[in-house]
């Protein structure tokens, strides 16, 4: 999200999900949409029924890629040269929107100079894609009146994730595909409320509504509202916290509803960190791999047992309603936090979630008009929603960008931190599958979902399978420089030769023992999409 924040000023989907079905060209890059965001994929299919053209950029031949007009099966981690090549073609063929560039953006010459130095043949070579196909994709996107770009973690989970995002933003701004309805740049958020957790300031550097903690004016505002003095220095990010190791800075942690032992890269390092804490407190609905290491585990209520709001990928804040009382002795996380806070000598006393939302509306400008009574009687409201009279914002950046002018930030290719070599000849990509979800805390407790997809599979090209003497169903020993797991092989032409794909949902096959801790310098997002592994038949 840091990438969009620096170019547009706001790190969120610029469109609504429903606008996608009115687009003329849809460019999907680094997103397995039909498995990870089924409703968004549904809008894409509707758009295609109405005549829209689809471009998919993905190393794998996913379901969506099979239906695409153009599928560019790039080498993992080469998004920047590909996007730069597309932009160069757009420049060469006069498809850039000069008026938009002039009126709404800045630093275009920085980008243009970089593009003029680009060797198209060389860029296509780096990506492993035919230049003619790149040219066709650029022409298709460049000529569209309404074009949407959807991207996901295939873009951000690279060492150059932020630059990847900035390149996408460059492409959209250069063709004027941002400020209008049905046209924009849409990062698809992976979790039900990851957008909301960011909006609420569950981040080390910002208060709610992205107000920086090191800005004296913002800090003073919160100090006055909360009647307490606040620390001015931004805190540690997730990876800095969970990868501190034995000599880490942290001595105590409170983990609410997360499972870093399965979700974070280089699990052994996370375990070492957690095991060396003086105190670990975990609140969750199940005894997760993380909770097993805690000193105190608190039973939390599930989403069916509490009232509140979630913010979805299109910035829509909507109600979560209580259906049953908390099970057993479990309590809502809000109750747990308030109890803990009172015992720490700082009283937070709210009668209801609605009252908490009143305080959020007062302090977080983009949530200024979010009140439970308004959300109760509607399908939710999309931020920014400035006050009680405001109807919310279906698409962003109308008339001007959040940061004023959109900024072009040119980027050059940065290869992944670890590429295959003689000792570790295969490239491992990790991601999700349709029937399971994240570390499986919820989905693996669902009998039907586990029946459909109950174990981890390693997708492997049949040619590679033949070379290793593997058939579908055989066990493979997979090893990286960091760890080793055993996993069942599935031969499929979804992946290219030399590349393998698997998921991180299954604790029996903790793939993050193998993944690399290299991360984007700016957003600290780990490079889950590329690391080198060695395979052999068990």
């Amino acid at each position: 999200m840091a990438g969009l924040a620096t170019t547009f000023g706001s790190g969120a989907m610029t469109n609504s999900i429903n606008e996608i079905e009115n687009a003329q060209v849809i460019l999907v890059i680094g997103s397995n949409t039909s498995e990870a965001h089924p409703q968004v994929a549904r809008r894409m299919f509707t758009a295609m029924d109405r005549g829209a053209r689809l471009i998919v950029i993905d190393p794998r031949r996913t379901l969506l890629a099979r239906r695409a007009d153009i599928h560019l099966a790039i080498r993992p981690g080469t998004d920047i040269p590909l996007l730069n090549a597309m932009m160069r073609v757009i420049l060469d063929e006069n498809l850039a929107d000069d008026l938009f560039i002039e009126m709404r953006t800045e630093n275009f010459y920085g980008l243009r100079d970089m593009l003029f130095r680009l060797d198209l043949e060389e860029a296509a070579g780096i990506c492993g894609v035919d230049l003619a196909r790149i040219r066709a994709a650029a022409q298709l996107y460049g000529r569209a009146q309404k074009a949407v770009i959807c991207y996901c973690l295939g873009i951000t989970q690279h060492v150059c994730g932020t630059s990847n995002v900035q390149s996408i933003a460059n492409l959209a701004m250069m063709t004027g595909n941002v400020e209008k309805e049905d046209t924009g740049v849409d990062p698809l958020r992976g979790q039900n409320n990851v957008q909301g957790a960011c909006d609420m300031g569950a981040l080390p550097n910002v208060f709610p509504s992205y107000q920086q903690v090191d800005n004296d004016d913002y800090r003073e505002k919160f100090e006055r509202a909360w009647n307490v003095s606040l620390p001015p220095k931004p805190g540690l990010t997730l990876m800095q916290m969970t990868h501190g190791g034995k000599d880490g800075q942290l001595k105590a942690m409170f983990i609410m509803g997360e499972n870093p032992v399965l979700s974070d890269p280089v699990i052994s390092k996370v375990e070492e960190t957690l095991d060396n804490l003086e105190f670990l407190l975990v609140a969750d609905i199940f005894l997760t791999e993380t909770a097993r290491r805690a000193h105190v585990v608190l039973p939390a209520a599930s989403f069916a047992e509490k009232t509140g709001t979630f913010t979805n990928s299109e910035r829509r804040v909507q109600m979560v309603r209580q259906v049953i009382p908390p099970l057993g002795q479990s309590r809502t996380d809000a109750d747990i936090i308030m109890d803990l806070s009172a015992r720490l000598g700082y009283v937070m006393d709210y009668e209801s979630p609605a009252e908490i939302m009143e305080e959020i509306a007062m302090l977080a400008p983009i949530y200024g008009g979010m009140h439970h009574d308004r959300l109760e009687n509607s399908w939710g409201l999309q931020w920014p929603c400035w006050d009680r009279e405001h109807d919310g914002t279906p698409f962003l950046h109308k008339y001007y960008f959040t940061r004023g002018r959109g900024r072009f930030v040119p980027a050059v290719h940065e290869p992944p931190a670890e590429l295959p070599d003689d000792d570790y000849p295969f490239l491992l990509i990790t991601g999700r599958i349709y029937h399971q979800y994240h570390t499986g805390t919820m989905s693996r407790h669902s009998p039907l979902l586990s029946r459909e997809a109950g174990e981890a599979l390693l997708q492997l090209h049949p040619e590679d399978g033949r070379r290793l003497g593997l058939r579908s169903g055989d066990m493979v020993r997979m090893r990286s420089r960091r760890g080793e797991v055993q996993v069942k092989a599935q031969l499929t032409e979804t992946v290219k030769t030399g590349e393998v794909y698997t998921t991180f949902h299954f604790s029996e096959m903790p793939i993050n023992l193998l993944t690399i801790s290299a991360k984007d310098h700016f957003s600290q997002c780990p490079e889950y999409k590329v690391c080198a592994v060695h395979l052999e038949k068990v």
Partner: protein, 133 residues
């Protein structure tokens, strides 16, 4: 049987979904017909959204490590120990040795409270969640 409209807890699409309640149990889920995202449609995870709620291995009581094992204790015992330890480490380090991970599964209100707890009560900005994963 009651049907209560709520929001799905899996991916970022945010479908409107009805949970069916019968005698204190959530027994089914179905899509909202008019919701702008779900439009009478759910993915396989949405249709089986209710299944994990009453799973027998749900945590039902607070646990505390005693002699190396997690043992059931009262809320008061768990909370007073937790508050004492977090408060001690925060006090000794002026907040720098405490870290909090919030959750993309929790509500906005709960995320707001947790960052407020971190900043106002524990005096630290060491708070993050899994947005990057």
């Amino acid at each position: 049987m009651h049907d209560i409209l709520t929001t799905c807890v899996y991916c970022g699409c945010g479908c409107g979904v009805y949970l069916h309640e019968q005698r204190g149990r959530v027994v089914g889920s179905s899509p909202s017909r008019n919701h702008p995202v779900s439009r009478n449609n759910l993915c396989v995870k949405g249709w089986h959204l209710h299944e994990f709620i009453h799973h027998p291995s749900r945590l039902k009581e607070p646990l505390m490590r005693k002699n190396g094992r997690l043992t059931p204790v009262s809320w008061d015992e768990a909370m007073s120990y937790a508050a004492r330890e977090l408060g001690r480490v925060a006090g000794e380090s002026n907040g720098s040795a405490v870290g909090l991970l919030s959750s993309a599964k929790c509500t906005n209100e709960e995320n707001y409270l947790l960052q407020k707890l971190a900043r106002a009560a524990l005096h630290t900005n060491n708070i993050d969640h899994c947005a990057r994963l």
